[in-house]
Symmetry: C2
Subunit: 455 residues, 2 copies
């Protein structure tokens, strides 16, 4: 009797798949906000129990923050290769909450897509892996290769716990291949494998002008307003061409190979970008193309700025303190911690007289990662994508960061591939994040095919 196809199994189990996906999305597993600690754990326990039912061996690796889930099914035996998969079950905060059209933890379907925080990043992408493994086990009673799965609970805060665990867990993590499934496509109709992600370092900057807020009438003209000092200081971080002015910032940026430059030579679709974001591609260093800027150049972005009274009405105040949150994306050969220190030192040095500047570098800085185009895992992934999409696969880069990826490749001594089914219009990290049900199904098919191709 011929095997039932995965497509048929997906069709048959569609209701269960959607139900389980929704259950997963309902956990508000926001790793960055301490008040959600319990909910993050509840989400981990749900995944653990789900995997246990599939007869995976499952461990919760405790960390100082949220646990990492480590699951394995090594029944294929030592003759077969081992694939280590990386996903994460934590999600971003939901602010500004008022911009959501439906509650972020009440999954809602509209036009074939599911709207919820994490619908794509990364619960959606984690979920199609889970369903691929479930359906393969259901149909065949076994997986074609050995599978290890690391599901991080702290990716959105830079994976501090898993980073610390890596040196202790290298035996458990040992694998032939590593698939980091937290990426996307350039165009949802075109298959793509990602050859690189940028690294990241983040920091808080605080300017203190005095010991108390002051009246901007009585003291305006005498007291130096930290809001003014902050805008002056932050404005000085980039020049009129979008180039970061911090001395040494670009020193270690690697020059692109000819091959990489060819890979980047896509036409950037400004119309699609405008449709997705309502914006023109005017950010970053003007001397580079938009894709070069997002994929191969480091950035410095102000992610948050705050000082004085910003509520309804007006308050005539000179605040004691003004602050900002800054992140830098780094590219291969740049050390993110070093970049963080350069920016911090520059901010302290450039601080105007009368202002106390403090910079707090967050833990969890991560390097950029690169996959090898010629590796077996990259080639097999591309083949799986091509079969499912019925189109030639693109090789792309991603501007975002998966700080744990290069560290995980090193600890597991494996060849890495980065991929996923995200689209720039999914609004990850933003209000109304969503993911299409069609891509959940494609994901299941790609993962099952990849496992078969590696066997």
């Amino acid at each position: 009797m011929p095997k039932v196809s995965i497509e048929q199994l997906i069709d048959k189990n569609k209701k269960d798949i959607i139900d389980d996906y929704f259950t997963f999305l309902k956990y508000p597993s926001i790793s960055s906000e301490p008040e959600y600690k319990k909910e993050v754990l509840a989400c981990a326990l749900w995944l653990r129990d789900y995997l246990k039912k599939l007869r995976f061996h499952v461990e919760l690796w405790p960390t100082e923050g949220h646990p990492t889930i480590f699951a394995s099914n090594l029944d294929a035996g030592p003759e077969k290769p081992t694939l280590l998969i990386y996903n994460h079950y934590d999600v971003q905060p939901v602010d500004p909450i008022e911009k959501w059209h439906s509650p972020p933890f009440t999954p809602t379907v509209a036009k074939g897509a599911v709207y919820a925080r994490g619908a794509q990043d990364n619960k959606g992408q984690c979920f199609y892996v889970l369903q691929a493994l479930k359906l393969l086990l259901k149909r065949d009673g076994a997986l074609p290769i050995n599978v290890k799965w690391c599901i991080d609970g702290e990716e959105e805060i830079g994976s501090p716990g898993l980073s610390t665990l890596l040196p202790k867990k290298h035996k458990e993590l040992r694998a032939d291949y590593l698939a980091v499934i937290d990426l996307g496509l350039r165009n949802v109709k075109v298959p793509a494998v990602t050859l690189g992600v940028r690294g990241i370092v983040t920091m808080d900057v605080e300017l203190t002008g005095g010991t108390t807020d002051l009246h901007s009438g009585t003291h305006g003209g005498i007291a130096y307003n930290p809001n003014h000092a902050l805008v002056e200081l932050l404005a000085s971080l980039r020049d009129s061409k979008g180039r970061v002015t911090v001395p040494g910032f670009y020193d270690d940026v690697s020059v692109l190979s000819k091959k990489d430059k060819e890979l980047l030579a896509f036409d950037f679709d400004a119309d699609q970008f405008a449709k997705d974001t309502g914006a023109e591609p005017l950010g970053g260093e003007q001397q580079f193309t938009p894709l070069e800027r997002a994929w191969t150049r480091p950035t410095l972005e102000i992610n948050g700025i705050s000082g004085g009274y910003a509520g309804a009405g007006f308050k005539t105040v000179i605040p004691a303190v003004a602050s900002a949150k800054i992140s830098c994306r780094v590219v291969p050969d740049q050390d993110p911690e070093q970049i963080g220190k350069l920016v911090a030192n520059h901010l302290k040095k450039a601080a105007p007289k009368g202002m106390k500047v403090s910079v707090h570098l967050h833990p969890g800085a991560g390097k950029a990662a690169r996959a090898s185009l010629k590796s077996k895992i990259v080639q097999a992934t591309a083949e799986a994508y091509e079969e499912v999409f019925q189109k030639p696969c693109e090789y792309i880069f991603e501007g975002g960061s998966i700080p744990i990826a290069p560290a995980l490749a090193k600890a597991s001594q494996s060849e890495m591939v980065l991929f996923g089914l995200g689209a720039s219009s999914d609004l990850i990290h933003a209000p109304n994040e969503h993911f299409s049900i069609d891509r959940i199904e494609k994901g299941i098919r790609i993962i099952t095919r990849l496992l078969e191709l590696l066997s």
Copy 2:
């Protein structure tokens, strides 16, 4: 039988005075926050009932926002002059609430001072007027002159309601003298009458870069971050010497008379300023002295700035929108509405490509006000201060604004004086606002003496 002195009456009624003061302070009469509308009204009704018990004729003048209280006692008769007094019963918001050592609407005594929002500005100063009138009526059964009293419920939002009422109420308001009692002293041990206040105009600025928040990894380097556009735009509003760069901003600034310059020639006490504020006097135009900057020069201050994620942890976001709240203080001969338009136009013109800029000018802009040194009301006030303090009176200016003051002087056709017992260390508009009980007592004595001197 000789009259009981006001000092004796204060001593005798001390408990009642403090109790009533606390009751007044407990109303969270925050005029700028719509959710406090009921509490503002409750505060107005308390004052109305208090004044009715003193047999004042009291009216609540309704406005689109909070009512103005208008009270009068004209029993002295047409032979005696009429003094119009101005105070306000509304207060500033309380953010940042976490910086208060005691709840802002639970008055708390420490070291002879009462801590509460409004303890000084302006409930404290309104309250000593109330007690002066009460004690005079208690002792003498009548007031030595005719008194009209306008207690504003919207001073902290620029008195929009009372401004609108003025043309309709000029008969009711008609007076010989106007005492605007919302000012302070340069030094709490030295009596002072204020000869001028600055005017004000306030606005909200919003920069929109796209239709949604974006991921700063995926889009960082492509999307133009409104936080960066905002800091660049705001930083361009002042030059390195603290001078406002908006074209035309200084065009109508009046040149100081020799007399005014003499009055300003106090030594600025930088040590006291540092003690009160934890800051050095480094704000504003460097070519002027601190007192010139606060008293006679216009300013542009960023009172609030906000964009992206500013909570606990970190969010790698490029926000769709970044915004700021800006106020300008203006000096005589400047038209605040014109200054607001100049700034708004400049912001729109200077906005970087790709950013939509909207500027909302708040209603309630008010001109600067000046009192005449030679007027009877200024001289009588100075004499009352000198008697109570037993020291020569200073003549000073104030950097803050009372937008309604010049309009009220015009509507009432009266000679204006500006005074009060505030100190720069009172932390008005800031956490831990306070006012000393000693100054409540001095205030009662000054008001009673002023009424006698005018009779």
